[in-house]
């Protein structure tokens, strides 16, 4: 297993999780003693079968897991932002007002407009959310996260509801934005290709612990090899033979 970047460098990790337990019932835990470090600016994709605790981990990091019992140690930066699977724009606020919702400061409007331009929605400031397409709504929700300059961006299957073409465009946009703003990213996805395309590192969750932790280093392994390895770990039979 590849060593964590946080242990190689002197900088403390942006996210540090130790021995995290979470369960919804007494019988079995969703997370069973999970350890995880994410370095500042590192893009980590979290994959795993349904019910392996991906979303539970993300919600724990976001501080949204109030109805769950558990214990463990979590350290996250001050500025955390969440991108949900649904864009979650308030339908009664115009797009720009959604972006700058709760944003303090006089220049919120200017920053919001700038963030909208950055995701390619310049000129749509005054539109109602229902007037945007699904992809545009998700862009707006990205802008809402970015305008807060997060040190940690948590994304819970943000492209899951989008069509294939839109998803490819969103991948490019997300990479561009992350290179520009350099937040640490934890992207939950069920799509192995998406994970390999976007992330610096892919973590595979199984039974509430990290089953595999792979650095996406294309000099060592081709995307196809990586994909086959991950699918194999997920228990999916692949027709690809190296």
């Amino acid at each position: 297993m590849a060593p964590h970047l946080g242990e190689l460098t002197a900088t403390p990790p942006a996210v540090r999780v130790r021995n995290l337990h979470r369960s919804f019932s007494k019988n079995g835990g969703v997370l069973n003693g999970l350890d995880l470090d994410i370095a500042p600016g590192e893009f980590v994709a979290l994959i795993g079968r349904s019910g392996t605790g991906k979303s539970t981990l993300l919600r724990a990091l976001a501080g949204l897991d109030r109805e769950v019992t558990g214990y463990g140690q979590i350290t996250v930066p001050d500025a955390v932002s969440v991108v949900f699977q649904d864009s979650r724009l308030l339908p009664w606020k115009r797009v720009l007002d959604n972006i700058i919702l709760g944003l303090p400061g006089r220049d919120a409007t200017r920053r919001g407009t700038q963030a909208l331009a950055e995701v390619g929605l310049a000129g749509r400031e005054r539109a109602w959310p229902y007037q945007l397409s699904g992809g545009e709504q998700q862009r707006a929700s990205l802008a809402r996260s970015l305008v807060r300059e997060p040190q940690l961006l948590l994304a819970d299957e943000p492209f899951g509801a989008l069509d294939a073409l839109t998803r490819i465009r969103m991948h490019a946009l997300l990479r561009k934005l992350c290179e520009a703003h350099k937040p640490a990213v934890l992207l939950v996805t069920h799509d192995v290709d998406e994970a390999v395309t976007l992330a610096d590192r892919v973590i595979l969750l199984d039974d509430g612990v990290v089953r595999a932790d792979v650095r996406v280093d294309l000099t060592q392994r081709s995307p196809a090899e990586l994909r086959a390895f991950l699918l194999d770990q997920l228990g999916v039979e692949t027709a690809v033979h190296p």
Binding site: R88, K93, L101, G102, W128, Y130
Partner: protein
Amino acid sequence: MTAVVHAGPETDLASDADVRVVRRRLGPGRRLRFTFWVGPALLLAIWSLGSATGVISPAVLTAPWDVVKALQDQWVNHDLLGNILSSLTRAAIGLGFGVVAGTVLAVVSGLSRVGEALIDGPIQIKRSLPTLALIPLFIAWFGIGEEMKITTIALISMLPIYINTHNGLRSIDGRYAELAETLELGRGEFLRQVVLPGALPGFLLGLRFAVTWSLLGLVVVEQYNATSGIGHMMTLAGEYGETDVLVVGLVLYGLFGFLADSAVRLTERKVLGWRRTLEN
């Protein structure tokens, strides 16, 4: 391999392109101007026709033109304008108190379990008490002056505001509260940006009820020791058997109710433009 590009038939696009306008097949269809007057106008037409042909005898219902005459008489000889104004003032003040109280109670009860425990029960009890039965009690408490009248109207109009605002507030998608938490909104901002706009459709529906109920309340309270108001005018007319004046009162009530409701609905359409419903 050859690529085949299907060219459309050669037509003048500018003239043909926009001919076919696709409308939603189900639902009420395109909004037409002044349509909300059609129903009342038809009612008036039937009434006139019935009176003119004698199908509706004057003993049953005064003919429209006789109502107009009675209205003229009331206007000139009995200070109808004063009656209208004092009635509308009562209704407006009562409605104002009722709307504010209903909204505040709905928000407190909607956002806190303690508030709900304290407020919701009594309101539901109040709902099942007939206002008519409460008036003697209010007279004992507030006397027979304006306080009693305004309190009664306020209580009547508070209920629909409370119930519909509370319902609208509780129907707000819980995911928006989750979003507000991740955006670290404070309580005040959560209230202003999420709760109140989210509950607005419910509130406006409540307002439509409240407006008409406040007018209904007038009829009742103005029977007690009133020296002015449309209800007062109707009570007198009832005593003297002046059915034409009674109908004047009824027509005025109907007209005010209709206008007030139209005003609320117009507001509704203006401020709820963010919704994509069958309404717009």
